[in-house]
Symmetry: C2
Subunit: 481 residues, 2 copies
Amino acid sequence: MSEQTRITPRCEEYSRWYLDVIAAARLASYSDVPGCMIIEPNGCALWERVTDIFDARIKATGHRNVKYPALIPLSLLQRETEHVEGFAPEFVTIHSLNGSKLEDPLVLRPTSETIMYADFAKKVKAASDLPIKINQWCNVWRAERRTLPFLRTFEFYWQEGHTAHASETEARAEVMDMLQEYRTFAEGTMAIPCILGRKTPGERFAGAVDTFSVETMMQNGKALQSATSHYLGQNFARAFGIKYSYGVGESEFAFQTSWGMSTRILGALIMSHSDDKGLVLPPRIAPVQAAIMLIVDKKTSSDERRDGFLASVRRQLDNAHISYVLDATDRKLGLKQYDWEKQGIPLRLVVGMSEIERDQVTIIRRDTSAKTTVPLDDLGSAAALQLAVMQADLFAAAQERLQAKSRVCATLEEIRAAFKEGNFFVHTGWSGTKDDEKGVKEAGDGVTLRCIPLVRTAPYVDKCFLTGKPAEHQVILAKAY
Amino acid sequence: MSEQTRITPRCEEYSRWYLDVIAAARLASYSDVPGCMIIEPNGCALWERVTDIFDARIKATGHRNVKYPALIPLSLLQRETEHVEGFAPEFVTIHSLNGSKLEDPLVLRPTSETIMYADFAKKVKAASDLPIKINQWCNVWRAERRTLPFLRTFEFYWQEGHTAHASETEARAEVMDMLQEYRTFAEGTMAIPCILGRKTPGERFAGAVDTFSVETMMQNGKALQSATSHYLGQNFARAFGIKYSYGVGESEFAFQTSWGMSTRILGALIMSHSDDKGLVLPPRIAPVQAAIMLIVDKKTSSDERRDGFLASVRRQLDNAHISYVLDATDRKLGLKQYDWEKQGIPLRLVVGMSEIERDQVTIIRRDTSAKTTVPLDDLGSAAALQLAVMQADLFAAAQERLQAKSRVCATLEEIRAAFKEGNFFVHTGWSGTKDDEKGVKEAGDGVTLRCIPLVRTAPYVDKCFLTGKPAEHQVILAKAY
């Protein structure tokens, strides 16, 4: 594995830059299976941070983890009509087993509504069996033709939450609660500003009554849907017979939700903060927050002095709850800098002869490359402060970019002109039907209706940009990953 | 979900009892996919304890986690001859994708040596690229015809560690180190005594030079292979071209290991400690160590008094690092007892009017049903002590059983007589070849050669029970799951 990897500058070719950063930071690599990636140790550690932090929230909000089979009988997938139509083109199917043809082929799960809800139907009899609130962290498969690491792969990883409730009110509250959890996680931990919105009918999850999403903006102005939360109404409950009885001989179908966040979020993370030197990780998500780069000439330094100094550095970081790695290899400082920088470690700490002699440590921030020298005794608090400031700065920068790359447009012409100029989040008016949505592409190649924001953040546009009718909704248009 | 589930007593039918305990403790249930189970929240929490605890050991011993694709091209699986022969009968294969036939079908991983090692070959050039020490927690599939929850399922979960080294010595040390880690985990955390041994050629992992296993004894005297650690030598390195150069123009194939522990270990856990009342969990693996059963008549108790008392109970448990659940439902005490007992919660704490009035708590141990009453102020330390004693008692009981159900036999006749009497670990002499191993079944229906123990714990038998030749090895025979 070569230490030197050229990273294409963003201004040259953004999509190439994205792949180069993934390679340089050793997050993932290509496998022998078309469309499937190998998530390398650095990428896996990052995903484990996501799962650890978000799993705690899933549990704190009253959900429990389960594991359902990855193979789903085709007959189950076919029970909810819209659902199977939405996913069938991407099915990965096993037609025979142990040498004999399967009457009911098995499909590798593209999502688990059907197999879970067939089971819910067995478990729900009375209102007291509700709510069911479960979640699973798993791999899913969708036979995508065009793939891109983390963003769209044949196999990917995610969590899928699934719930069933006795009332619509409770189910709808769950949908919004989990949407807020996604926002809190993306903004608070990953420093990625979020727009929460409702999907238009053409962009809804197959089988849902209402789909809500977390839309985020990448550095190049493109949108990335980072998580979704669906209100399924009674659609699946009817198809699978999830019914509870009440009163005398009365029964009602359950009201359901599902919500998910996948390894896509790592794509969003990379494209939100990284630069031409490689990955940039917000401190709260970084698996390792500091790299101690020891640069000591063995001939001139005393081992005892050095070891004592290092022990103090470690103690300072431990007490400040900062995770770190010690690079005591004999590589040159330049190479160490280059290596930890491209891997996105938030702080690099230089410990050389001059630092040891002066009882101080030099701190270099990954995002700004700002260098500060602090007394050894203040290292813990100084580093903690830098991490906190860096977290806030990255979020602020992403917020500014979102602002700068947003436009308000009233007509199709204005919108076309905007997308000719570059990638933007275009706020405009909408009154179209599901069929009209097909016309959205007239706004520009690849432009889609991202969402109807839950909170309006731009001036009101009173006419639909496509139909000219009075605007029923304010929407955001963008090119999306 | 009915609260009442009859558990078949062990003496009546052990295999039925096993299934009943799984159902009663709500660990797993049957899915609509033949041979696949649904791991329910209680089972999932238990598996998460296994993964949390053992993952920390995997990392502490210098391994990093990765994720390789679940689908492996058939051509890769075919590269190591013995390997493909061993696993081919159980392949789950995808022959077409996106409507077109695949030239190289994709097989759902039965294990990941092949796809990982094809990648290792790309990453290893020089000795400095070694060792590679990685692990993955994932699902694997083997088209088993006869399945049993946790013990043998179509899809199951495991960790698979894979390493490549520059020398045989280093690789062999890794094999033994990880075998010891499995023992430490099984004995220290799960209270299951282990016999570490080497497998005979007929029982080796397909493609390995040497297979070592952790054999454990279930309550009924049957063996369960709880983990394996393989020395792969250079077999796979040759097949995949994992080669490092040294000196001038010299090169050498890497020496490899792989090792795994699966959801089977939960089967071992259930069959090591549970009783006719349901699941029994050793405190160190229990996701919840105590259930507080609040039994307070609302008419007679003061809310304030009760809440204050409960807050003290919680504080005592928190300070003692004891995990707990509070059952404040209005169910009767008997029903609460029954429910938490069958779920295997190590300690049940009764908090009723009489406890509150006397400032004390009644503790009931799951394994012995022993009841003690302790002052509220001593609850934390008293409960911690009971948990520690329970952990030790369960291990001691399992050790005694292992002793009691072990026999030393010199001849085939003696062995047959033993297995007619019941299930035992039979220690005897062995000098057979791989072909002779087929004759082992003459010892009794289902009897297999479990291992050549690394440490002999029984008197020496000087002749091979099958061939009559001088015994080269001392082996253990048993019926196994």
